[in-house]
């Protein structure tokens, strides 16, 4: 449930610049284990680094897209790509280390599954910073427009 609400949050607005630094998460931490795991793992900056590195590769992004549709084993993931299964396995390892996917150890086919929450947290960080001023500036455009209109009105012009 929490995961869904976080993702909804993520979609429904561009979080402000340093949302991730806000203390609010701490209260959530106390009462929600899922969030604790999420924040706990994202708290390591080298993990965020790993996430950025993992997402920088187009094949890995395509693999993630494939996993959106549901868990899949290496052979299934490799099928649409022109790369070998061992190559796919390598990519999966990178994604796994970055915390973006998880794999069942006990099952022989070791299906990979998306852990989208981690990705949302890490990418959100960059998104926030990148979007903060740009989006604020867009809003400033509107404020300036309304200031101009008020000014024109005040002067008795059309």
């Amino acid at each position: 449930m929490i995961v869904r609400s976080r993702l909804t949050d993520w979609r429904s607005y561009q979080r402000p610049l340093r949302k991730a630094r806000r203390k609010v998460d701490r209260t959530e931490l106390l009462c929600n284990h899922k969030v604790m795991e999420l924040v706990g793992s994202a708290a390591k900056s080298q993990n965020i680094d790993a996430v950025f590195a993992a997402l920088a590769d187009p094949t890995r992004r395509a693999i993630l897209s494939r996993l959106v549709a549901g868990e899949a084993a290496v052979a299934e993931i490799a099928a649409p790509f022109r790369i070998s299964q061992p190559a796919v396995s390598k990519h999966l390892k990178v994604l796994e280390r970055a915390g973006l996917i998880e794999r069942d150890i006990d099952k022989q086919r070791r299906p990979a599954r998306l852990k989208a929450e981690n990705m949302a947290v890490a990418v959100d960080w960059l998104n926030q910073f990148e979007g903060f001023w740009r989006k604020s500036f867009d809003q400033l455009d509107h404020v300036l427009l309304s200031m101009k209109k008020t000014k024109v009105k005040g002067k008795g012009h059309a």
């Binding site: 340093r18 998460d25 900056s45 990418v123 001023w133 509107h142 200031m147």
Partner: protein, 167 residues
Amino acid sequence: MRELPEYKLDRTFDAPREMVWRAWTDPELLHRWYGPNVETVIHKFELKPGGAWLNEMKWGGKSDFSKMVFQEVTKPKKLVWHHSSTDADWNIVSSPMMPDWPRVLLTTVTFEDMGNKTDVRLTQVPIDATDAEISCFAKVMSRMDKGWGSGYAILDEMLVELQSKRG
């Protein structure tokens, strides 16, 4: 001494400089645009060197606090402030997600008169930063330079799809 990583954003606004300056320095106007899609509450706004701008951004029952301390106020040309995230008591805090994110960013905004338009340049650089903070900021800046827009688009799609599945 290596060069500090810098965030830079240029934008031309379709309004005369005096007006743009007012939109930046009158809290009644500033709160209307500062912070994307959030409710911004300006608790304090002292527009003078050493003066503080205490800012709260609210969304979905949550709040994000930050403190800006003005270093230079040159009407209507230039604003310089130290920008930090804080707790609810305005104490500077580091991020739980990005512990090495610079605690203080030196933020400079210049306003150039272009007649009926105004060129605004905003820059942010870490100040009094540790090596770890500088390198963290540098990494994030370099990711941004590499056109993360397309990366986001893919992730956006994925998350929408994921949401609709779960929803």
